[in-house]
């Protein structure tokens, strides 16, 4: 009867921690891919927001950080020069958890994407 002893670590290896610049790069590529040259139409923008959120989620899973939960939030609005403020507070373990944000603006629309990475012990 073979038994396997596993090392259970409560913290991620520093190489496998959530790295904001890596995630920012992913988000930038996705936003540029999906939104370059697009105009604002209320019908298709709803689909864009969902697609962008799902694509970013899929790419994050490919990066291969273990035991991380991701929350991706995408906001798209019509560009009219209006004021918009977004704020957030997080109650988490700042050693393992972090966030990344990326903004995309064009003449027709603006887009703010945020990714929160939370470690599951």
């Amino acid at each position: 009867m073979a038994t396997v002893a596993e090392n259970f670590s409560l913290r991620p290896n520093h190489k496998k921690k959530f790295r904001a610049p890596v995630v920012k790069e992913i988000m930038k590529k996705v936003l540029q891919q999906k939104l370059d040259g697009q105009e604002y139409h209320p019908d298709n923008v709803t689909n864009y927001t969902k697609e962008i959120a799902d694509t970013i989620c899929a790419r994050l899973k490919e990066v291969g950080w273990d035991r991380y939960k991701y929350i991706v939030q995408v906001v798209i609005g019509e560009q009219r020069g209006e004021g918009l403020k977004m704020g957030c507070r997080c109650f988490w373990d700042s050693d393992t958890d972090s966030y990344a944000e990326e903004m995309y603006t064009s003449k027709q629309l603006f887009c703010v994407a945020t990714v929160y990475g939370i470690y599951h012990y």
Binding site: K50, A53, Q73, V75, I76, E82, G83, R89, F91
Partner: protein, 115 residues
């Protein structure tokens, strides 16, 4: 002889969070509040901090993220979408949109994930 249902102390009901968030937003944004660029940051900070204090006072083993968005209402369109990779049995989100104010949009989201 495992108890398959998690005991009350380790789950969060959406209704608890709803009450907290609605209180926090209503105390800052009423039906007559007009968009003021110099004060918006302060409103957001108040809403988010009040919500966070009450959420942590629940004393449950959860991590929270509270997000608040305020935009002036001018007829421009706004869309918000969220995609997550988490454990659907323990983690969830709550979104509250302020409807009664004609001058601004205020959308507050709370995400919680179990430790």
């Amino acid at each position: 002889m495992d108890d398959f249902q998690q005991p009350e102390e380790t789950t969060i009901q959406t209704e608890e969070v709803a009450v907290i968030v609605k209180d926090a937003v209503d105390s800052v944004v009423g039906p007559t509040l007009q968009y003021d660029h110099s004060k918006v940051q302060h409103w957001i900070n108040t809403i988010v901090e009040t919500s966070m204090k009450k959420l942590t006072a629940l004393n449950k083993p959860f991590k929270f993220i509270v997000n608040c968005l305020i935009m002036r209402r001018t007829g421009a369109g706004l869309h918000l979408a969220s995609s997550t990779v988490w454990d659907i049995t323990s983690d969830n989100l709550y979104l509250y949109k302020e409807e009664s104010n004609k001058y601004l949009y205020c959308i507050t989201t709370v995400y919680w994930t179990q430790i």
